[in-house]
Protein backbone atom coordinates (compact mmCIF):
# COMPACT_ATOMS: atom_id res chain seq x y z
CA UNK A 1 0.00 0.00 0.00
CA UNK A 2 1.28 3.47 -0.80
CA UNK A 3 1.15 6.62 1.31
CA UNK A 4 -1.99 7.80 -0.46
CA UNK A 5 -3.90 4.91 1.08
CA UNK A 6 -3.52 6.56 4.47
CA UNK A 7 -2.92 10.28 3.91
CA UNK A 8 -2.39 13.12 1.46
CA UNK A 9 0.49 15.47 2.00
CA UNK A 10 1.41 18.89 0.70
CA UNK A 11 3.78 21.68 1.68
CA UNK A 12 2.33 25.08 2.50
CA UNK A 13 4.54 27.98 3.57
CA UNK A 14 7.40 25.58 4.40
CA UNK A 15 5.06 23.59 6.61
CA UNK A 16 4.33 19.99 5.68
CA UNK A 17 0.60 19.30 6.00
CA UNK A 18 -0.35 15.62 6.36
CA UNK A 19 -4.07 15.07 5.93
CA UNK A 20 -5.05 11.66 7.32
CA UNK A 21 -7.78 9.72 5.53
CA UNK A 22 -10.93 8.58 7.19
CA UNK A 23 -10.35 4.83 7.42
CA UNK A 24 -7.36 4.24 9.70
CA UNK A 25 -7.63 0.85 11.28
CA UNK A 26 -5.13 -0.81 13.58
CA UNK A 27 -5.21 -3.85 11.36
CA UNK A 28 -3.23 -1.93 8.75
CA UNK A 29 -0.78 -0.75 11.41
CA UNK A 30 2.25 -2.29 9.69
CA UNK A 31 1.64 -0.49 6.38
CA UNK A 32 0.63 2.75 8.10
CA UNK A 33 3.80 2.82 10.20
CA UNK A 34 5.98 2.14 7.15
CA UNK A 35 4.25 4.93 5.20
CA UNK A 36 4.57 7.44 8.03
CA UNK A 37 8.21 6.49 8.69
CA UNK A 38 9.06 7.02 5.01
CA UNK A 39 7.34 10.40 5.17
CA UNK A 40 9.32 11.36 8.27
CA UNK A 41 12.60 10.41 6.53
CA UNK A 42 11.60 12.49 3.51
CA UNK A 43 10.82 15.49 5.74
CA UNK A 44 14.07 15.02 7.62
CA UNK A 45 15.97 15.48 4.34
CA UNK A 46 13.87 18.44 3.20
CA UNK A 47 13.81 22.00 4.39
CA UNK A 48 10.45 21.94 6.10
CA UNK A 49 10.25 23.71 9.44
CA UNK A 50 7.14 22.09 10.90
CA UNK A 51 4.63 19.29 10.31
CA UNK A 52 0.91 19.76 10.72
CA UNK A 53 -1.22 16.60 10.90
CA UNK A 54 -4.81 17.29 9.87
CA UNK A 55 -7.41 14.91 11.40
CA UNK A 56 -10.49 16.58 9.97
CA UNK A 57 -11.45 13.47 7.94
CA UNK A 58 -10.84 11.05 10.82
CA UNK A 59 -13.66 9.90 13.10
CA UNK A 60 -11.53 7.80 15.43
CA UNK A 61 -8.20 6.02 15.57
CA UNK A 62 -6.26 3.73 17.88
CA UNK A 63 -2.78 2.98 19.12
CA UNK A 64 -1.31 2.37 15.64
CA UNK A 65 -1.93 5.97 14.66
CA UNK A 66 -0.50 7.13 17.98
CA UNK A 67 2.54 4.99 17.29
CA UNK A 68 2.82 6.45 13.77
CA UNK A 69 2.72 9.99 15.15
CA UNK A 70 5.34 9.07 17.73
CA UNK A 71 7.59 7.67 14.98
CA UNK A 72 7.10 10.79 12.87
CA UNK A 73 7.97 12.94 15.85
CA UNK A 74 11.13 10.88 16.48
CA UNK A 75 12.16 11.06 12.80
CA UNK A 76 11.87 14.82 13.06
CA UNK A 77 14.20 14.95 16.03
CA UNK A 78 11.59 14.83 18.82
CA UNK A 79 11.15 18.56 19.03
CA UNK A 80 13.69 19.95 16.58
CA UNK A 81 10.90 20.42 14.08
CA UNK A 82 7.51 21.25 15.49
CA UNK A 83 4.69 18.70 15.15
CA UNK A 84 1.16 20.08 15.45
CA UNK A 85 -2.29 18.57 15.09
CA UNK A 86 -5.56 20.07 13.92
CA UNK A 87 -9.15 19.13 13.09
CA UNK A 88 -9.62 16.64 15.94
CA UNK A 89 -13.19 15.71 16.87
CA UNK A 90 -13.95 15.07 20.54
CA UNK A 91 -13.11 11.34 20.39
CA UNK A 92 -9.80 11.95 18.58
CA UNK A 93 -8.95 14.83 20.90
CA UNK A 94 -9.59 12.61 23.91
CA UNK A 95 -7.28 9.91 22.51
CA UNK A 96 -4.46 12.46 22.05
CA UNK A 97 -5.10 13.90 25.52
CA UNK A 98 -5.17 10.46 27.20
CA UNK A 99 -1.82 9.57 25.67
CA UNK A 100 -0.40 12.91 26.94
CA UNK A 101 0.86 13.74 23.46
CA UNK A 102 -0.85 17.11 23.77
CA UNK A 103 1.98 17.87 26.23
CA UNK A 104 4.51 17.77 23.41
CA UNK A 105 2.45 18.66 20.32
CA UNK A 106 0.34 21.76 19.79
CA UNK A 107 -3.32 21.15 19.00
CA UNK A 108 -5.34 23.61 16.88
CA UNK A 109 -9.06 23.51 16.11
CA UNK A 110 -8.61 23.67 12.33
CA UNK A 111 -6.04 23.92 9.55
CA UNK A 112 -6.41 27.67 9.08
CA UNK A 113 -5.75 28.54 12.71
CA UNK A 114 -2.82 26.11 12.80
CA UNK A 115 -1.20 27.63 9.69
CA UNK A 116 -1.75 31.14 11.03
CA UNK A 117 -0.02 30.19 14.28
CA UNK A 118 2.82 28.25 12.66
CA UNK A 119 3.59 30.82 9.93
CA UNK A 120 2.22 34.11 11.28
CA UNK A 121 4.24 36.27 8.87
CA UNK A 122 2.83 34.61 5.76
CA UNK A 123 -0.12 36.20 3.94
Amino acid sequence: MDQQTFFDDETLQNIAVVSLKSHLSNYQGDEFLSAIKALGEEYERSGITAVLVDFSRVKYFGSSVLEGLRLLWKELGAGERQVSLCGLNDVCHQIIHLSHFDHVWSVYPDRQSALSALAPDQP
Binding site: S22, N26, Y60, G62, S63, E67, R70, L98, H103
Partner: protein
Protein backbone atom coordinates in the same frame (compact mmCIF):
# COMPACT_ATOMS: atom_id res chain seq x y z
CA UNK B 1 -39.44 8.22 -3.66
CA UNK B 2 -35.67 7.78 -4.16
CA UNK B 3 -33.70 11.03 -4.22
CA UNK B 4 -30.54 10.79 -6.31
CA UNK B 5 -27.82 13.45 -6.44
CA UNK B 6 -25.98 13.44 -9.79
CA UNK B 7 -22.51 15.00 -9.64
CA UNK B 8 -20.76 15.74 -12.94
CA UNK B 9 -19.01 18.78 -14.41
CA UNK B 10 -20.29 17.88 -17.88
CA UNK B 11 -23.77 19.28 -18.55
CA UNK B 12 -24.31 16.69 -21.29
CA UNK B 13 -23.48 13.78 -18.97
CA UNK B 14 -25.68 15.21 -16.20
CA UNK B 15 -28.55 15.43 -18.66
CA UNK B 16 -27.94 11.89 -19.92
CA UNK B 17 -27.81 10.40 -16.41
CA UNK B 18 -30.81 12.40 -15.28
CA UNK B 19 -32.88 11.35 -18.31
CA UNK B 20 -32.07 7.69 -17.67
CA UNK B 21 -32.92 7.86 -13.97
CA UNK B 22 -36.12 9.87 -14.36
CA UNK B 23 -37.53 7.29 -16.75
CA UNK B 24 -38.20 5.19 -13.66
CA UNK B 25 -41.10 6.56 -11.64
CA UNK B 26 -40.32 7.37 -8.02
CA UNK B 27 -36.86 8.82 -8.71
CA UNK B 28 -36.21 12.47 -7.89
CA UNK B 29 -32.97 13.90 -9.30
CA UNK B 30 -30.76 16.71 -7.89
CA UNK B 31 -27.58 18.07 -9.49
CA UNK B 32 -24.10 19.31 -8.55
CA UNK B 33 -21.23 20.16 -10.88
CA UNK B 34 -18.34 19.15 -8.57
CA UNK B 35 -17.57 17.57 -5.22
CA UNK B 36 -17.66 20.79 -3.21
CA UNK B 37 -21.07 21.73 -4.59
CA UNK B 38 -22.23 18.16 -3.94
CA UNK B 39 -21.29 18.37 -0.26
CA UNK B 40 -23.18 21.68 0.08
CA UNK B 41 -26.22 20.07 -1.54
CA UNK B 42 -26.00 17.05 0.79
CA UNK B 43 -25.79 19.36 3.80
CA UNK B 44 -29.04 21.05 2.75
CA UNK B 45 -30.88 17.94 1.61
CA UNK B 46 -29.57 14.43 2.28
CA UNK B 47 -30.17 12.28 -0.83
CA UNK B 48 -30.79 8.54 -0.75
CA UNK B 49 -27.81 7.96 -3.00
CA UNK B 50 -25.16 9.80 -5.01
CA UNK B 51 -24.10 9.12 -8.59
CA UNK B 52 -20.81 10.85 -9.37
CA UNK B 53 -18.28 11.36 -12.11
CA UNK B 54 -14.68 10.71 -11.05
CA UNK B 55 -12.73 13.36 -12.90
CA UNK B 56 -13.92 16.82 -11.91
CA UNK B 57 -12.22 20.09 -11.04
CA UNK B 58 -11.82 21.31 -7.41
CA UNK B 59 -12.83 18.07 -5.71
CA UNK B 60 -12.73 14.83 -7.69
CA UNK B 61 -14.94 11.78 -7.25
CA UNK B 62 -12.47 9.94 -5.02
CA UNK B 63 -12.23 12.89 -2.64
CA UNK B 64 -16.02 13.15 -2.69
CA UNK B 65 -16.37 9.45 -1.79
CA UNK B 66 -13.93 9.96 1.11
CA UNK B 67 -15.87 12.99 2.37
CA UNK B 68 -19.26 11.26 2.07
CA UNK B 69 -18.03 8.11 3.81
CA UNK B 70 -16.55 10.21 6.62
CA UNK B 71 -19.60 12.40 7.18
CA UNK B 72 -22.57 10.50 5.72
CA UNK B 73 -21.54 6.82 5.85
CA UNK B 74 -25.05 5.57 5.07
CA UNK B 75 -25.33 7.29 1.68
CA UNK B 76 -24.27 4.88 -1.08
CA UNK B 77 -22.15 6.35 -3.88
CA UNK B 78 -22.16 5.01 -7.44
CA UNK B 79 -19.28 6.03 -9.71
CA UNK B 80 -19.50 6.88 -13.40
CA UNK B 81 -16.13 5.90 -14.84
CA UNK B 82 -14.58 6.88 -18.13
CA UNK B 83 -11.60 5.36 -19.90
CA UNK B 84 -8.40 6.19 -18.03
CA UNK B 85 -10.03 6.52 -14.63
CA UNK B 86 -9.85 2.82 -13.70
CA UNK B 87 -7.13 3.29 -11.09
CA UNK B 88 -8.97 6.09 -9.28
CA UNK B 89 -12.18 4.00 -9.48
CA UNK B 90 -10.48 1.10 -7.70
CA UNK B 91 -9.35 3.49 -4.96
CA UNK B 92 -12.87 4.90 -4.66
CA UNK B 93 -14.35 1.40 -4.38
CA UNK B 94 -11.80 0.62 -1.66
CA UNK B 95 -12.86 3.84 0.08
CA UNK B 96 -16.43 2.60 0.18
CA UNK B 97 -18.15 3.44 -3.11
CA UNK B 98 -21.07 1.05 -3.63
CA UNK B 99 -20.68 0.34 -7.33
CA UNK B 100 -19.59 1.79 -10.67
CA UNK B 101 -20.90 2.12 -14.19
CA UNK B 102 -18.64 2.85 -17.20
CA UNK B 103 -19.83 6.05 -18.90
CA UNK B 104 -19.94 4.28 -22.25
CA UNK B 105 -22.51 1.86 -20.76
CA UNK B 106 -24.66 4.41 -18.91
CA UNK B 107 -27.71 3.85 -21.12
CA UNK B 108 -27.62 0.11 -20.52
CA UNK B 109 -26.49 -0.13 -16.90
CA UNK B 110 -27.06 3.06 -14.89
CA UNK B 111 -30.74 2.67 -14.14
CA UNK B 112 -30.38 -1.01 -13.24
CA UNK B 113 -27.34 -0.36 -10.98
CA UNK B 114 -29.11 2.50 -9.18
CA UNK B 115 -32.19 0.34 -8.65
CA UNK B 116 -30.06 -2.52 -7.28
CA UNK B 117 -28.28 -0.23 -4.80
CA UNK B 118 -31.58 1.47 -3.86
CA UNK B 119 -33.21 -1.93 -3.22
CA UNK B 120 -30.34 -2.91 -0.97
CA UNK B 121 -30.69 0.43 0.84
CA UNK B 122 -34.43 -0.15 1.40
CA UNK B 123 -33.66 -3.61 2.78
CA UNK B 124 -31.04 -2.15 5.14
CA UNK B 125 -33.50 0.47 6.36
CA UNK B 126 -36.23 -2.12 6.94
CA UNK B 127 -33.73 -4.23 8.87
CA UNK B 128 -32.66 -1.24 10.96
CA UNK B 129 -36.29 -0.44 11.73
CA UNK B 130 -36.78 -3.99 12.98
CA UNK B 131 -33.61 -4.05 15.08
CA UNK B 132 -33.35 -0.52 16.42
CA UNK B 133 -34.60 -0.49 20.03
CA UNK B 134 -36.74 -3.60 19.44
CA UNK B 135 -34.05 -6.16 20.15
CA UNK B 136 -33.71 -6.58 23.92
CA UNK B 137 -30.92 -9.13 24.22
CA UNK B 138 -28.24 -10.54 21.96
CA UNK B 139 -25.53 -13.11 22.70
CA UNK B 140 -23.03 -14.08 20.05
CA UNK B 141 -19.82 -16.07 19.85
CA UNK B 142 -17.11 -15.88 17.21
CA UNK B 143 -14.09 -18.09 16.67
CA UNK B 144 -11.68 -16.28 14.37
CA UNK B 145 -8.55 -17.57 12.73
CA UNK B 146 -5.65 -15.25 13.55
CA UNK B 147 -6.44 -13.00 10.57
CA UNK B 148 -6.17 -9.21 10.86
CA UNK B 149 -8.54 -8.60 7.96
CA UNK B 150 -11.45 -10.04 9.98
CA UNK B 151 -11.01 -7.47 12.74
CA UNK B 152 -12.61 -4.41 11.06
CA UNK B 153 -15.81 -6.24 10.04
CA UNK B 154 -16.16 -7.76 13.51
CA UNK B 155 -15.63 -4.39 15.20
CA UNK B 156 -18.14 -2.84 12.83
CA UNK B 157 -20.68 -5.60 13.60
CA UNK B 158 -20.28 -5.26 17.37
CA UNK B 159 -20.53 -1.47 17.16
CA UNK B 160 -23.69 -1.83 15.10
CA UNK B 161 -25.19 -4.27 17.63
CA UNK B 162 -24.41 -1.76 20.38
CA UNK B 163 -26.26 0.85 18.34
CA UNK B 164 -29.33 -1.36 17.94
CA UNK B 165 -29.35 -2.02 21.66
CA UNK B 166 -29.17 1.69 22.48
CA UNK B 167 -26.49 1.31 25.13
CA UNK B 168 -24.63 4.49 24.24
CA UNK B 169 -24.54 7.51 21.96
CA UNK B 170 -22.60 7.91 18.68
CA UNK B 171 -19.36 9.15 20.26
CA UNK B 172 -19.31 6.42 22.88
CA UNK B 173 -19.95 3.81 20.20
CA UNK B 174 -16.79 5.01 18.46
CA UNK B 175 -14.94 4.70 21.77
CA UNK B 176 -16.31 1.17 22.30
CA UNK B 177 -15.14 0.31 18.76
CA UNK B 178 -11.64 1.62 19.52
CA UNK B 179 -11.48 -0.49 22.71
CA UNK B 180 -12.64 -3.68 20.98
CA UNK B 181 -10.22 -3.14 18.10
CA UNK B 182 -7.32 -2.59 20.50
CA UNK B 183 -8.17 -5.79 22.40
CA UNK B 184 -8.41 -7.81 19.18
CA UNK B 185 -5.13 -6.45 17.83
CA UNK B 186 -3.46 -7.24 21.18
CA UNK B 187 -4.84 -10.79 20.96
CA UNK B 188 -3.43 -11.12 17.44
CA UNK B 189 0.09 -9.73 17.96
CA UNK B 190 0.92 -10.10 21.64
CA UNK B 191 -1.33 -13.07 22.42
CA UNK B 192 -1.37 -15.53 19.55
CA UNK B 193 1.83 -14.49 17.77
CA UNK B 194 3.71 -13.67 21.01
CA UNK B 195 5.51 -10.66 19.53
CA UNK B 196 6.44 -8.19 22.21
CA UNK B 197 6.39 -4.40 22.29
CA UNK B 198 10.02 -4.65 23.44
CA UNK B 199 10.90 -5.63 19.86
CA UNK B 200 8.74 -2.83 18.47
CA UNK B 201 10.68 -0.38 20.60
CA UNK B 202 13.93 -1.62 19.08
CA UNK B 203 12.77 -1.84 15.48
CA UNK B 204 9.19 -1.75 14.28
CA UNK B 205 10.13 -3.46 10.98
CA UNK B 206 11.54 -6.44 12.87
CA UNK B 207 8.39 -6.52 15.01
CA UNK B 208 6.15 -6.81 11.95
CA UNK B 209 8.58 -9.18 10.17
CA UNK B 210 8.48 -11.53 13.16
CA UNK B 211 4.67 -11.36 13.20
CA UNK B 212 4.56 -12.24 9.50
CA UNK B 213 6.98 -15.14 9.86
CA UNK B 214 5.07 -16.55 12.83
CA UNK B 215 1.90 -16.53 10.77
CA UNK B 216 3.59 -19.33 8.80
CA UNK B 217 4.73 -21.34 11.85
CA UNK B 218 3.04 -23.68 14.28
CA UNK B 219 1.80 -23.25 16.93
CA UNK B 220 1.25 -19.52 16.24
CA UNK B 221 -0.54 -19.90 12.90
CA UNK B 222 -3.05 -22.38 14.32
CA UNK B 223 -4.19 -20.21 17.20
CA UNK B 224 -7.59 -18.59 17.20
CA UNK B 225 -9.22 -15.53 18.72
CA UNK B 226 -12.43 -16.22 20.63
CA UNK B 227 -14.95 -13.42 21.00
CA UNK B 228 -18.17 -13.40 22.99
CA UNK B 229 -20.56 -10.50 23.12
CA UNK B 230 -23.49 -10.24 25.51
CA UNK B 231 -25.66 -7.22 24.94
CA UNK B 232 -28.77 -6.04 26.75
CA UNK B 233 -30.43 -2.63 26.95
CA UNK B 234 -28.46 -2.04 30.17
CA UNK B 235 -24.93 -3.05 29.26
CA UNK B 236 -22.64 -4.53 26.65
CA UNK B 237 -20.06 -7.15 27.63
CA UNK B 238 -17.26 -8.24 25.29
CA UNK B 239 -14.94 -11.15 26.15
CA UNK B 240 -11.86 -11.62 23.95
CA UNK B 241 -9.53 -14.59 24.45
CA UNK B 242 -6.44 -15.62 22.54
CA UNK B 243 -4.64 -18.97 22.67
CA UNK B 244 -1.26 -17.59 23.68
CA UNK B 245 0.42 -17.94 27.09
CA UNK B 246 -1.07 -14.68 28.40
CA UNK B 247 0.60 -11.71 30.05
CA UNK B 248 0.59 -9.77 33.30
CA UNK B 249 -1.24 -6.48 32.68
CA UNK B 250 0.28 -5.07 35.89
CA UNK B 251 3.69 -5.10 34.21
CA UNK B 252 2.68 -2.90 31.27
CA UNK B 253 4.39 0.48 31.77
CA UNK B 254 2.22 3.56 32.17
CA UNK B 255 2.36 5.24 28.74
CA UNK B 256 1.37 8.60 30.23
CA UNK B 257 4.46 8.71 32.44
CA UNK B 258 6.74 11.38 30.92
CA UNK B 259 9.64 8.93 30.70
CA UNK B 260 7.53 6.51 28.64
CA UNK B 261 6.11 9.06 26.23
CA UNK B 262 8.78 8.16 23.69
CA UNK B 263 8.15 4.41 23.95
CA UNK B 264 5.63 2.23 22.05
CA UNK B 265 4.02 0.74 25.15
CA UNK B 266 0.62 0.35 26.68
CA UNK B 267 -1.41 2.91 24.72
CA UNK B 268 -3.92 0.33 23.48
CA UNK B 269 -4.56 -0.87 27.04
CA UNK B 270 -4.87 2.74 28.21
CA UNK B 271 -7.57 3.37 25.58
CA UNK B 272 -9.43 0.19 26.56
CA UNK B 273 -9.34 1.08 30.27
CA UNK B 274 -10.60 4.57 29.58
CA UNK B 275 -13.32 3.78 27.05
CA UNK B 276 -14.87 0.84 28.88
CA UNK B 277 -16.56 1.08 32.29
CA UNK B 278 -15.08 -2.14 33.59
CA UNK B 279 -12.13 -4.25 32.50
CA UNK B 280 -10.62 -7.40 33.91
CA UNK B 281 -8.30 -10.17 32.82
CA UNK B 282 -8.41 -13.88 33.66
CA UNK B 283 -5.66 -15.28 35.85
CA UNK B 284 -3.39 -16.25 32.94
CA UNK B 285 -3.89 -12.93 31.16
CA UNK B 286 -5.03 -14.30 27.81
CA UNK B 287 -8.67 -13.28 28.21
CA UNK B 288 -10.01 -9.80 28.71
CA UNK B 289 -13.58 -8.93 29.69
CA UNK B 290 -14.74 -5.39 28.84
CA UNK B 291 -18.05 -3.95 29.98
CA UNK B 292 -19.83 -0.81 28.82
CA UNK B 293 -22.78 0.23 30.97
CA UNK B 294 -25.74 2.11 29.55
CA UNK B 295 -25.15 5.77 30.15
CA UNK B 296 -27.58 7.15 32.76
CA UNK B 297 -27.99 10.36 30.80
CA UNK B 298 -28.86 8.66 27.55
CA UNK B 299 -32.37 8.61 26.19
CA UNK B 300 -33.70 6.50 23.36
CA UNK B 301 -33.46 9.31 20.78
CA UNK B 302 -29.79 9.86 21.55
CA UNK B 303 -28.99 6.15 21.41
Amino acid sequence: MTTILIVDDSAADRALASGLLQKRSGNKVLFATNGIEALSQIEMHIPDLVVTDLQMPDMNGLELVDAIKANYPLIPVILMTSQGSEEIAVKALRSGAASYVPKKSLARELSETVEMVAASLREDRAHSRLMFHRMTKSDSTFELPNDLSLIPPLVSHLRQMTRYMGVCNDSDRLRVGVAIEEALVNAYYHGNLEVSSVLREQNHNQYHDLARSRMEQSPYRDRKIHVESRLTREHATFVIRDEGPGFNPELVPDPTDQKNLDRPWGRGLLLIRTFMDDLHFNSSGNEVTMIKQRSESINDEEA
